[in-house]
Structures are given as C-alpha cells and as structure tokens.
C-alpha cells in the first residue's frame, strides 16, 4: 500500500445562503495516494469545485466546513489557522489551479514580476534567484522563456494556462489540483496542457495530481484512478480501467454513455444523454440522490441513502443495486 498524500474523512462543507443551506459536499471521504493521477468527474453543480476548495481549506463564507478532517502530507489542515495554511501549505505542499485560472494572472504585471510576488510570499530568496529559478523551470517544461517577460494579454489561452500551471508548481508542491484546466481550450491546445501535467510528474516536480473535469475521454488519457461525484456525494471510485470497462453505478454508466468521441464503439451504440437535470442541493432528493433520474430505481432508493461500500480492492460503489 502506497502512502497517502491527502486524506479527507467524512467531509461536509455547506454554503449558508438566504434561500437555505446548500449541501455542496456532503459526507465525502477521499484519499489521494502518492504518485497517482486521480480523475474526479461529475456534472456542473455536483460539488466538484467546492470539494477541491475544501481539500485546500480555501473556505470563505458563505462556505463553511461543517464536519470532517483533512490531512495533507501528515498535517491536519482542517484545524490549522488560515494564516499558517496560506504560508506553509498552499503552493508548498498542495496547489490548486482553479477553473478561472485564465484570469489568475495580474493584467498589469509581467509574468516574471507576478512570479516574484508569489514566491516571496512563501520563501525568503533574492530576486535574482527567483528569476533563475523561473527560467530554469520554464526551460525544463519546454515553455518559451521569453513569455516570462510578457504581459498576460500577450499570451494565448493555452499558453496562459500552461504558465499558470508552471507558476503554481514552482515551489514543488507534492499535490497539484487542477479544476477543468482544459475545458475552455481547443483539442490541440488541450493536448499540450495534458502533456505538461504529465511532464511535471515525470520530472518529479510534483508527486500526484487531482484532475477535475466533466470530460471522461480526457481522464481516459491521463488518470490512474477515477472518482465519480453526483449531487455532493461520491457514487463510485476505482481504477480507471475497472470503472470504465465495468461501471457499477447507473450514473457512472450514464456518464460514460454520454461521451461523444469519433469511435466505432460509440457510433454503434449511438448518442445517449442522461435525462433530467442535477438536483438542487438545498433540498436534495431523499434516499439515493440519483433516484429521480435513474432507470433502475427501486422503492428502497427513495427511502434509504446507500452507503459507499468497498466491493473489492478499493473499488467503491454507493448503490442499492450493487448490494442486492
């Protein structure tokens, strides 16, 4: 058993809003082992991004950590002061590239000046060292060094995304979380970003990656493990091959069937999408949250919340069909 980089235990993080409490992450446990790429898939509004912010302890009202523990590389960050987390954890042990990363760079600063500010916040080094560090890293990752001296608006979308990823891993964090890094990019640029992520791991700059997306075909290319999330809960997890070739949860099967790629297998079975819309998390459905959209729903699904059970070697499913 490899060591765990990140452990999240029964985490609940809710948004307290005027309309009510949004249970965006409801009782989620997640482990990230050393050396793997974990793919997290689910529809918009299923709590993927909230879960990532929670794992980072990037929690600001109206979002509250209601319950649960988060341990990153041996440190219990769910109990830490925000100030300490900012200085000692973010960027150093665990980095997050959020969905809006294309807007993360300062429009009025050249990339190198932005890097200088970021690095100085965490470690005490001279300007010269930072510049040589950044140049070396850009060279290693095959990014044009000239781009360090440009302003963000002078970079293309793909280049900006790659620069943000390079900057967030400058201090060699163990874990990198990327949230929909390629959704706004075209296929050729997307491939370059994915290659960069693999390079970061190959050169041992980072140990593990959590990749969040709604596109399973992308995960197929890079992930080792797959975690499927629906309406604030994890419904299935396992190795990529197991989950893709033999999905146990009807939602997972639906997600896989909804993939549209130019392949004979998919052409044969035709295009199918999951009927309905994801539920409102202020007032989620009783029992299994997927039951109103599920083709196999039974009476029990309406009443009892299925537990996430281990069916074999770390393959976990939460569905009443699997138990019976």
């Amino acid at each position: 058993m490899s060591t765990l980089l990140l452990e999240a235990e029964r985490v609940k993080s809710y948004y307290h809003t005027r309309e009510g409490t949004v249970k965006a992450v409801d009782d989620v446990s997640l482990d990230v082992e050393n050396g793997i790429i974990l793919g997290l898939a689910g529809e918009s509004g299923c709590g993927k991004s909230t879960l990532m912010n929670t794992l980072m302890m990037k929690i600001r009202p109206p979002l509250y950590l209601v319950d649960g523990e988060i341990i990153v590389d041996g440190e219990r960050i769910s109990k830490m002061e925000r100030k300490e987390i900012k200085k000692k954890i973010w960027g150093v042990k665990i980095s997050l590239v959020p969905q809006s990363a294309l807007n993360a760079l300062m429009p009025t600063k050249r990339i190198i000046d932005f890097i200088r500010d970021v690095v100085k916040f965490h470690v005490d080094v001279s300007d010269g060292e930072i510049v040589s560090m950044a140049r070396k890293r850009f060279e290693e990752l095959n990014l044009p060094e000239d781009s360090l001296y440009l302003y963000p608006h002078e970079l293309s979308g793909g280049m900006k995304q790659r620069a943000v990823i390079a900057i967030s891993t400058l201090l060699n964090p163990k874990l990198l979380i990327v949230d929909e890094p390629t959704s706004a990019l075209d296929v050729s640029t997307q491939k370059r970003v994915l290659k960069l992520l693999l390079d970061l791991k190959k050169f041992k700059i980072i140990d593990s990656i959590v990749f969040v997306t709604h596109d399973i075909a992308v995960l197929r290319q890079i992930a080792d493990r797959l975690v499927i999330m629906y309406a604030g809960k994890i419904v299935e997890s396992g190795t990529l091959e197991d989950v893709l070739s033999n999905p146990k949860h009807p939602y997972t099967a639906g997600l896989i069937h909804a993939v549209i790629t130019p392949e004979p297998e998919i052409r044969k079975r035709g295009l199918v999408s999951i009927p309905g819309e994801p539920p409102n998390l202020i007032n989620p459905p009783s029992g299994c949250r997927f039951h109103p959209r599920c083709l196999h729903a039974m009476p029990i699904c309406k009443k009892v919340v299925p537990e996430l059970v281990d069916i074999s070697n770390g393959r976990k499913v939460s569905c009443h069909l699997v138990k019976s």
Binding site: E43, S44, G45, S156, G157, L185, D186, V187, S188, T189, Q190, K191, L194, K195, L198, H214, D215, I216, A217, V218, R220, Q221, I222, L244, G254, L255, I256, A258, V259, I260, T261, P262, E263, E265, I266, R267, L271, V272, S273, I274, P275, E277, P278
Partner: protein
Amino acid sequence: MLLKVKDLSKTFIVGLFRKKEIHAVRKVSFNIKKGEFISLVGESGSGKTTTSRMLLRLLKPSSGSVIFEGKDPWALHKIEDLKWYWKQVHGIFQDPFASFNPLYKVDRILYQTFNLLNVESDAEKEHLVKESLKEVGLRPEEVLGRYPHELSGGQRQRIMIARCYLLKPKLIIADEPISMIDASTRAGILKLFSDLRNNYETSVIFITHDLGLAYYVSDRIMIMHNGSIVEEGTPDEIMEHPKHHYTMRLKEDVPLLYRKWKGF
C-alpha cells in the same frame, strides 16, 4: 441551393500608425442545400466564428459574396427585408449565459420572437411558447417565469433552441453551441439540431473545434485552418482517410474513450 458562399474574405486592419492586416477568412466558398447539416471544424483563431458572423449579417465581408435564397443580405436595407432575413437565418452561440438579459425573466427571450412572426392573440402566443419548450425537452412550468441564473447551462441552451422551433428558420448557424455544456447533456442538445433538420428540413451550419461532435451529426465536414477551408468530405472520409496534414493532427488530438494517445 439555399446558401451560396463564394470567395468570402475578411481582413481586419489593426494598429493606428503601423497598420497590420490580419486575414481572418480567406476566400471561403461553399454551398448548402435545403436540409443539409454541415460542420465547420477548426481550432481557435481559424476563422470559424468570423465566417459565421458574416453569414449572420453581423459583420460585413471585405470581399466575396453570401447569397441566401438568391438575395445578398448586405443589399437588404428595408426593415421588412431585414426581418425576413433574421427570421430565415438564426444564430445560436457558445455562451448561453450571454444570450440572456439577467434582469428579465426567460419568457421574454421567447416572446421576443413574435416581433418577427404574425401572431395576434396572446393565448396563441402562450400556446406556441409552451409547445416549443416541450419540443426541446423542457417542462414549461419549470422554466417559464424564472430568471436566467436559476437555470442550468443546458436548460438555457435548450431555450435558445426553442426559439428555433418558434421561428422555424431555414438556416441555423450554431457556433460552438455545446462546448460550454456538460458532457452528460451534450448528446441531448445535439439531437435537437438533428430533429430540427429531420422534422422541418432546416439546414444547419455547426461550428465546433471538436471533430468528434461533427462526426456524428454532419452530412459534410469542412476543416478550416488559418482562414481557409483545407479539406472537405463526409464524416467517414474525413475520419478514415484524412488528406490534409492539419486534419490528421486534429484527428489525433481528439481524446478518445477506448484508445489511449501514444506517449501518454
């Protein structure tokens, strides 16, 4: 022939003193028949959107011609003629969030179509709106009377397509209509375009960077690169025997579900 596009070009001139010409679209020519579904595929910056804007009469071409049902849209000046063009040629855009005014209920965007239609009675209007929503798989009571932020991206894009069911245009130009929509609901939205074509013989120009999507719905695919159409063919021809090196690269870069990329 419904639409004839010949040598369509657009050159943007940038800079104040040192002027630079950017050839966004270079001599693009193609024809569309009634009921034909064609896809325009290319990466960002290949000129797809500039082409679509010229077809929608939102951007004046630098040279070349667009002829729709024998008429040049740029020669239309009278309001009745323009209304005719807007009713016949309808655009659907990438960002279903930007198409709505956040201050108004979603009903407004549907009722606005009656400015182009001859419907007098309010009861008839309400009936047509409800029917169009049902056509696109929405329950009228779920969406009417709500504000855009209360709906998901997929629901919003469906409402935009409901407008097509009200207007029954002859040509729909859909510019990346599903790239901001969840993978789980993409197939359903894609099907709505096919349904329109099958039920009303609507012609569709589907603009996308994803060859995978184009493969399923099109009769014909055109590959666009650096402002020109570099290859054209049926989906099978393009996927199985791509000729242009850019098409080959595009095909290789599409992530697949059952095959892993080399070197990954």
